[in-house]
């Protein structure tokens, strides 16, 4: 365990630790372009040069390993001069088109210039002309002039996806990033090259020119796109609605979690955010004499509560079925189960569906496109008695076993087709839909109650490996939408039961006290990275 002193701070690190890693441990900032914790060390940008006592030349922090007794200065004249020199070189051929560059505001050339550059330009020569705004894939735009040739994007495609679409061609200052002939950066993770590009050379075709990054607010979250639960950041623009045509979410970005997704996320998840702002159910509604009419949220809850109350009173609660989507949080699921099964005494509450499997790979993308299937399993949101699955429950509805069917986010039409949905409507007296977005089921349901999307609520998802992870509201719900657990609280109050909670966190603590696999967990303990269910011991999470 060698000891190293950096800027006067001594630290003991494990063998093989680089100066860069040691500075991170000490929270000392050393600027870098080519280094990335998820990629091999290239050592080519020379921005991380630091002054190591002994060798006459400055050393790169990203590659140089700490040795016993090493003394490093990151702020000596030698180190500063080296960094300033490197930055001047990197900017010498750079077009300096920040005003029209999408990266402005989150560009490491801008950032490090303010910290380490601040010189008067003395580059008086003709700059190299290279290609600008060149699409290199469905999601990625390349500007060769802005590229600092750090090779991060190349290494990503070589080392992470193994697809190798990108390369650096030519020599010297004529070098440029390009796609190999006949190739495009269209791998399933292509958006990540934009994230890791430290400058404005690779920009996101989806995000380009939508919004200046300084208008964005960020909230940590978890991608609901599949059961992997990649950690993400929701970047939204609330202050300048005119820039996003009124839409709030501008983009999703992966957030580091070495247990789940390292630094990456897939394109499918990344670009799957439009549903947050589009096609939302914003008001409650009901079908009256064949016509859809908007009603007050309270009236919708009242009307569902009275159907439920009557059924219980008349001992007809066995003729009510509940379908529950695994898009719901653990907290929502727990309350749905508690209310319908424990309080109302119903059997037919079901979250098991054989959804058609989506694409998958051996890295992050899982075939199960729900974020919380494992949570529903752990919480046993499954029907008792003879019911086998959601599909089974639907068939039995069509066979006449239920008078009332309530769907929490399950689009019956989308799942099983129009015929089944219509057959259900022939049989039941009420099909109620509680959900966030319009679909064929919501359009035909006799009662619709708007609920929130994941980006609007607190809660947790349990991923495929049994990792329980927090989500946080990025902004308030649209319209009348409320989280499912609150809708349950309302129904409970109206029907005279006592399912209630002030917030998602108190539901979670109830879960931890009643469901053994959640024992010992708390929001505090989950933190930003989540924790495994106590029933999951050793696991290879990826």
């Amino acid at each position: 365990m060698p000891k190293v002193t950096i800027d006067g701070h001594e630290i003991e690190v494990s063998q093989g630790t680089t100066i860069m890693q040691a500075t991170k441990q000490l929270a000392i900032e050393v600027p870098y372009y080519c280094w990335h914790p998820g990629l091999s060390v290239a050592g080519n940008c020379r921005m991380c040069l630091v002054d190591v006592e002994g060798p006459p030349k400055p050393q790169i922090a990203c590659y140089t390993q700490v040795t016993e007794g090493m003394v490093v200065h990151t702020q000596s004249e030698k180190a500063k001069k080296a960094r300033k020199g490197t930055l001047e070189f990197l900017l010498s051929n750079h077009p300096l088109d920040c005003p029209v560059c999408d990266q402005a505001g989150e560009c490491d050339l801008q950032n490090f210039y303010m910290d380490h550059g601040q010189y008067d330009s003395r580059f008086d020569e003709q700059k190299h002309k290279k290609k600008k705004a060149q699409p290199v894939g469905e999601n990625v735009m390349l500007d060769q002039e802005r590229c600092v040739l750090c090779s991060r994007c190349v290494r990503f495609c070589d080392e992470i996806t193994g697809t190798g679409e990108l390369g650096i061609v030519n020599r010297g200052s004529h070098e440029e990033i390009t796609v190999f002939p006949g190739k495009e950066v269209n791998n399933a993770y292509s958006g990540n090259v934009v994230d890791i590009c430290p400058v404005g050379a690779l920009t996101d075709r989806d995000f380009r020119f939508k919004c200046r990054v300084w208008y964005l607010s960020s909230q940590d979250s978890v991608c609901p796109g599949c059961s992997q639960g990649c950690n993400i950041r929701i970047d939204s623009n609330l202050s300048r609605p005119q820039h996003g045509e009124g839409e709030r979410v501008m983009r999703l970005k992966p957030r580091e979690n070495l247990n789940v997704n390292d630094y990456w996320m897939c394109d499918e998840g990344r670009y799957n955010y439009n549903f947050i702002d589009r096609n939302r159910i914003q008001t409650a509604s009901r079908v009256k004499e064949g016509v859809v009419e908007e009603i007050l949220f309270e009236d919708a809850v009242d009307s569902l509560a009275s159907v439920l109350g009557d059924a219980v009173r008349e001992q007809r609660h066995g003729r009510i079925g509940v379908l529950v989507s695994t898009q719901l949080t653990n907290e929502d699921l727990f309350f749905v189960k508690k209310f319908f099964k424990t309080n109302l005494g119903m059997d037919a509450v079901e979250s098991r569906f054989s959804f058609p499997e989506g694409s998958s790979d051996d890295f992050l993308i899982k075939a199960d496109k729900s974020p919380n299937t494992a949570g529903a399993q752990a919480l046993e949101v499954i029907a008792s008695g003879t019911y086998q699955s959601g599909e089974d429950l639907i068939d039995k509805t069509i066979a006449g076993e239920f008078d009332v069917l309530i769907s929490f986010g399950v689009d019956i039409d989308g799942l099983l087709g129009k015929e089944k949905l219509d057959a259900i409507l022939e049989k039941v007296t009420l099909l109620a839909y509680v959900g966030s977005n319009h679909n064929e089921t919501s359009k035909k349901a006799q009662l619709v109650i708007p609920s929130t999307v994941y980006a609007e609520k607190d809660g947790t998802f349990t991923n495929v490996h049994g990792r329980v992870q927090r989500i946080w509201p990025a902004f308030p719900p649209l319209g009348q939408a409320r989280p499912e657990w609150q809708i349950i609280c309302d129904l409970s109050e109206k029907t005279g039961f006592s399912v209630s909670a002030d917030d998602a966190e108190s539901i979670f603590s109830e879960i931890t006290q009643t469901v053994s696999s959640f024992q010992g967990l708390s929001y505090e303990k989950l933190g930003k990275e989540g924790s495994l269910l106590s029933t999951v011991k050793e696991t290879v999470e990826k």
Binding site: V41, G43, N44, C45, R46, M47, L49, P56, K57, P58, Y63, K81, A82, G85, T86, E88, F89, L90, S92, N93, R122, F123, D124, E125, Q126, H128, V148, L149, G167, I168, N170, R171, G172, S173, H174, E175
Partner: protein
């Protein structure tokens, strides 16, 4: 001229043919080594000979070999560097063309010493005829059983593969050369690890220059003592091939003890300056070496003396410039070379070498300003010591040395260019 070692073969008619080579002790040294010595004994002998790497860095050859791990866990490779792209250097080409078997014999000795069974020769892409000669020599050696399995009946196996480069100076840098041999873009690797530990295909690898390897048969024949004393020097052994070019009466390759002075090389051996002119400057070790002024030529040509004089022995390429030389143009040509040959991997060299060339080109075109000179010194200073490989330093060194030593030439040129045309000198 004192001893003719390699030159003896260079001057021998048809020495590229195996029979002719063998008639002059050819392949007798390797046979003796295989019969009489253990690999460690060869390493020791070469260490004692003070043979230094003649590719440019001047590292002790025996010492370099001794860094090869002895655990035998991975195969060891020998690589011969025949990329010879340093301007002013043309000795390897001559060896490979005129006496390729001398190189092959040297490679056999080196391979045996480090226990390599596979060796590569990386030859500069432009060297078409030398390549043909070399390939032919390898073929002849295989035909005679000197390469392949059980060479010379010794039980020792050795294969040699000749690989043609694709025309990049940087592929002469040993780790870029390895990358290129592995089929990748010729980009220098970060060091450490050095090739002796992690080299070709991740295995321990010895890389030596053509000339270094070609001296081995002669060192083994004459003995380490003899060789090391040829130059009367302790640390730099023997002789080497000096490639003299430029404004001398007799440009060419001169094999001389390394304690010969630069003055003697120019005036006694290369016939002095052409047309009776005055000497202005000399680049003593390939274009990467800092330039010396006419007053600085009483320096011995061994690695240590030239280093002490602030320059380097490098590849032995001695470029002589007479009094009429335009230093601005000379520097522009040097800078153009480095800007063109920078591999582009690391920022300071990629951007800096191009920037320097653009400035000196502008000066040469008459658009210079006196401040440009200090800018160039500062830019060169920012490249030095901050790059992945030595090409960055090499790009900086001519700039620094030409401007420091010939500043008034640059200043006069700049101010002359701003005079009305009729008064320009």
């Amino acid at each position: 001229m004192t001893e003719k070692l390699i030159t003896k073969y260079l001057e021998l008619t048809d020495a590229n043919k195996i029979d002719v080579f063998e008639s002059k002790d050819g392949y007798s040294r390797i046979q003796k080594v295989l019969k009489e010595l253990k690999p460690e004994e060869v390493v020791d002998e070469v260490k004692k000979s003070n043979l230094r790497g003649l590719g440019g860095a001047g590292f002790s050859t025996g010492m370099k070999w001794s860094f090869i791990p002895k655990d035998g866990k991975k195969p060891v490779y020998l690589v011969c560097n025949c990329d010879e792209a340093e301007p002013g250097t043309f000795k390897d080409r001559h060896i490979v063309t005129s006496t390729p078997h001398l190189l092959l014999e040297g490679m056999m000795i080196a391979a045996f010493a480090v226990n390599a069974h596979k060796a590569y020769i990386f030859i500069r892409g432009e060297y078409e005829r030398p390549y043909e000669r070399l390939a032919k020599a390898v073929e002849e050696a295989y035909a005679k059983g000197y390469l392949g399995k059980n060479i010379f009946g010794s039980g020792y196996d050795l294969d040699i593969v000749v690989h043609q480069g694709a025309g990049a100076y940087i592929c002469g840098e040993e780790s870029a050369l390895l990358e290129a041999l592995e089929g990748k873009k010729g980009w220098p690797r970060l060091k450490p690890p050095f090739p002796a530990v992690v080299g070709l295909f991740g295995c321990p690898t010895v890389i030596n220059n053509v000339e270094t390897l070609s001296y081995l048969p002669l060192v083994m024949q004459g003995g380490a003592d003899w060789f090391s004393k040829l130059a009367g020097e302790e640390k730099s052994g023997g002789t080497r091939l000096f490639c003299v070019s430029g404004h001398v009466n007799k440009p060419g390759i001169y094999e001389l003890p390394v304690d010969t002075t630069l003055r003697s090389l120019i005036y006694d051996h290369a016939g002095g300056i052409r047309g009776g002119k005055q000497l202005k400057a000399v680049v003593p070790g390939g274009i990467s070496a800092p330039i010396l002024s006419a007053e600085e030529i009483d320096v011995k040509m061994d690695f240590d003396s030239l280093r002490a004089a602030g320059t380097m022995a490098g590849s032995g390429g001695v470029m002589v410039m007479d009094e009429d030389t335009n230093m601005v143009e000379a520097l522009m040509v040097a800078s153009r070379f480095f800007a063109h040959e920078s591999c582009g991997q690391c920022s300071p060299c990629r951007e800096g070498s191009a920037w320097l060339y653009k400035i000196v080109k502008r000066i040469n075109e008459g658009e210079g300003r006196v401040e440009d000179l200090d800018s160039m010194l500062s830019i060169a200073g920012n490249i030095s010591g901050t790059t992945i490989c030595a090409l960055g330093d090499a790009a900086a060194m001519p700039v620094t040395s030409y401007i420091k030593k010939f500043r008034s030439d640059f200043e006069d040129y700049i101010s002359d260019c701003h005079l009305p045309v009729e008064t320009q000198s």
